[in-house]
Symmetry: C2
Subunit: 470 residues, 2 copies
């Protein structure tokens, strides 16, 4: 295999010399089918937590503990013997998605296979292969620095990321002192393109609701009552159709009032991205054309503009054949993605008022809020971001691009809210890794480069003294 042009840092050499062992250890980790959503895999969850704890211990991390929760265990560990240096909180998850449909895999999902420079296995990119890089970077640094690390490290690894992450969210809120750090590091994202150093600095927020519409108090026969009885499916359709205008703009009052536009440095960075709209449409979306708010580029629309989406709708008869019912109820699952400066509570209130005001005759509405979290944006001028970008550029030989991600990583919001720290999203996956899909893979070169880059980042960070603020 081809490693990137070595710059002969000692940690690079360590990785090169131990590449076979580093791969075999990752394979052992990937062989554990730690599927969090399937109860029959609870023993595998326990095995994966144990594997993580042992890996931390053998990397020289101290105070390692497997912390029981109401769900799957957390693993904590730290190394805190660099008193004047920054502290990094490393996060990752050891749970994985189910592998089905199994018949689409070219090799068994829990028996790692190497082809064309990739390792194929469920969890290889999301997130076992990426979180394991943090541990191996610590090990490399400890070896080459005679048992010492250039920064203080805390590790917090969860096993519920694929099922909502309730336990870690509670743990972070309840243990701010234990988790106190200067910056958090998460490797659960992708390079924008192969070989392009990428830091994700923005995540959209999310408010998610269920809207239930009730018409008649019982299901009615449409022959006898059609033309007089209010139909809650039609009511929902009418209401939801009013939420956007013909240009794709959201009509909820105040929706755009607080939207902060991207900083100039971000816009500049986005222009340098090798984004190909036709490829995006064909390979990623697979539809006949793209849609969305008029007047904004695709990247702006998915990263920096609020959007409204109907995720699910159900009502009436949906079996095979026909049934002429006017149902009593219909329900839709709706979310707004939020961008920096938008207040989830304000959006929720405005949406609720809009829905009630526009409720069609005879239709009663019930809104249930399932979650509400604001957007997260890391200041691109934060020193840790600048250092991470430099370390990344050093390694790959290109300027680091700053991207956003239209999705949400709730733990990043928890770190910001409860610990007051920014998160560096330094991921080494690739856009075609097939997360949550059959034949998930992780590029082997990126695994090794990732370990080297993280070690280099820790070393550069160690050149700083004490706490960092932007």
């Amino acid at each position: 295999m081809v490693l990137p042009a070595p710059m002969h840092r000692p940690t690079d050499t360590f990785v090169e010399q131990h590449q076979d062992r580093l791969l075999e250890e990752l394979k052992d980790f990937l062989r554990i089918p730690s599927i969090s959503t399937l109860p029959e895999h609870q023993p595998d969850i326990a095995a994966a937590a144990h594997f993580v704890a042992e890996s931390l211990r053998s990397a020289g991390i101290e105070n390692v503990e497997i912390i029981p929760t109401a769900g799957n265990p957390l693993i904590y560990g730290d190394w805190l013997h660099a008193p004047s240096k920054p502290t990094v909180l490393c996060y990752g998850h050891y749970d994985v998605q189910p592998p089905d449909p199994l018949e689409l895999w070219h090799s068994p999902p829990f028996e790692p296979a190497i082809h064309d420079g990739n390792i194929y296995a469920r969890g290889s990119s999301d997130d076992k292969g990426q979180m394991y890089m943090h541990i191996k970077a610590a090990e490399a640094l400890r070896v080459v620095h005679g048992g010492k690390l250039p920064v203080n490290l805390k590790f917090l690894i969860e096993g519920e990321e694929e099922i909502g992450g309730a336990s870690i969210s509670k743990f972070v809120a309840e243990n701010p002192a234990k988790l106190k750090a200067d910056v958090a590091l998460v490797s659960d994202t992708q390079l924008y393109a192969e070989g392009l150093p990428t830091l994700c600095i923005g995540l959209r927020g999310l408010v998610y609701m269920e809207v239930e519409a009730t018409g008649p108090d019982r299901d009615l026969h449409s022959g006898l009552y059609g033309g007089a009885a209010p139909n809650p499916i039609s009511g929902l359709i009418e209401l939801l159709s009013k939420c956007k205008d013909a240009t794709g703009s959201i009509r909820i009052p105040g929706m755009y009032d607080d939207v902060a536009p991207p900083a100039p440095v971000e816009r500049e960075s986005w222009k340098r991205l090798p984004f190909d709209e036709a490829e995006f449409l064909r390979r990623e979306v697979g539809a006949s054309e793209l849609t969305g708010e008029a007047g904004y580029s695709v990247l702006e629309r998915v990263w920096a503009r609020p959007t409204m989406e109907v995720h699910g709708i159900a009502g009436g008869f949906t079996g095979a054949g026909s049934k002429t019912v006017i149902p009593s109820k219909a329900v839709a699952k709706i979310s707004f993605r939020l961008v920096p400066n938008q207040d989830p509570e304000k959006i929720l209130t405005s949406f609720g008022d809009f829905m009630q005001y526009n409720a069609p005759p005879g239709i009663r509405l019930q809104l249930r809020v399932l979650s509400a979290a604001p957007a997260v944006l890391v200041d691109p001028d934060h020193p840790a971001i600048r250092i991470a970008a430099q370390a990344f550029s050093d390694m790959l030989g290109k300027p680091t691009v700053l991207t956003r991600n239209g999705g949400s990583i709730p733990v990043v919001g928890d770190f910001a809210r409860h610990l007051g720290v920014p998160t560096i999203l330094m991921g080494f996956g690739l856009p075609d890794d097939g997360l949550h899909s059959p034949n998930e893979k992780y590029r082997l070169a990126n695994y090794y480069t990732g370990i080297m880059t993280i070690a280099h980042f820790f070393e550069k960070l160690g050149e700083q003294s004490g706490a960092m603020t932007s």
Copy 2:
């Protein structure tokens, strides 16, 4: 029990004298749980078919046969010894709806109970109690007329009405000579109100479709693609919201072009109906207000205007909790109720064109037609209708009202299409009989009155000679 003021026709006296036996026989019929939709009740279906055949034979009907079909058996029988007289084709069904939820029944659904002048049992009103009146009217006439009937009778009884009636539809199409008649008689409807003689002369038609919208060719993550990827749920919502305007009028081009308004005699009749809109809203619909096309009364809207209804909609994630998916597909079940002179094919074509023309960007549509049948309207001046109305008025002492029903009874369309005969819908149920619901009941007085009225109708019809045309 109180019978209506007897007019001392011999058949009335027969019914009065045999009321206990007529009730016991009906109870025996109702004890057979002939639920057509549940395969484990196939022996009961067979038992009910046998019961009907035996009842016909003991009433003096000849050539009785149980006709096997691909589904449940039909029963045919006839009496054809009145060569210069009209022939009536009597239709009914011996199958019933499932009784669940069982816990809401005050007495076992298949153990008939008499309370407050009603007989409570599944099938008492729909349709065993009503179809049995035809057989008992024939028996009464045969006894009082010394073995003869005043008209020719053919009976065709089915056991699949509650599950779509596929077998009878095929049988009618294939056996027009065997079923040749002047008029059909169906007792499977209700009096408009207690004591009010009611003939239903119009049924709406129905075209029923499934519309499937496809956006991306796979489910997408709304965080990563929301704002750029077409959402098929939103596409369906946008499309369906365009189908009606703010006044409830259907916007499909040509929808109202061919609509025939009700005849003056019908409008006059509707004005005499004791329709109470507030009661209808409260007791039957159970919503906060009524809806529908502006400028038309409730009865016009449900009986004589085309309507569009969304019966079901499904797409995306509809389980508990939240999932941020942009689904690949969404589907809706949609129907139009049609009124006289509307052509189902023309409406389908226009709707298909409208949907394709208005399909939002990125959304592909597939339309599947599940059924298409025109409205049925019996000429209120047809001699058989006039005679039936007169017989009904004679019996109940009030002028007969002509109503319509917003639903469809497919066999009536089959009789019109394949046999060329009008159907007299002379039912004796009441609006609160609870068809398809727990505690279904049939008013005992209406059972006896029904037998008397049908016998009287056959006698009056027998005063005619030969074929009847309007």
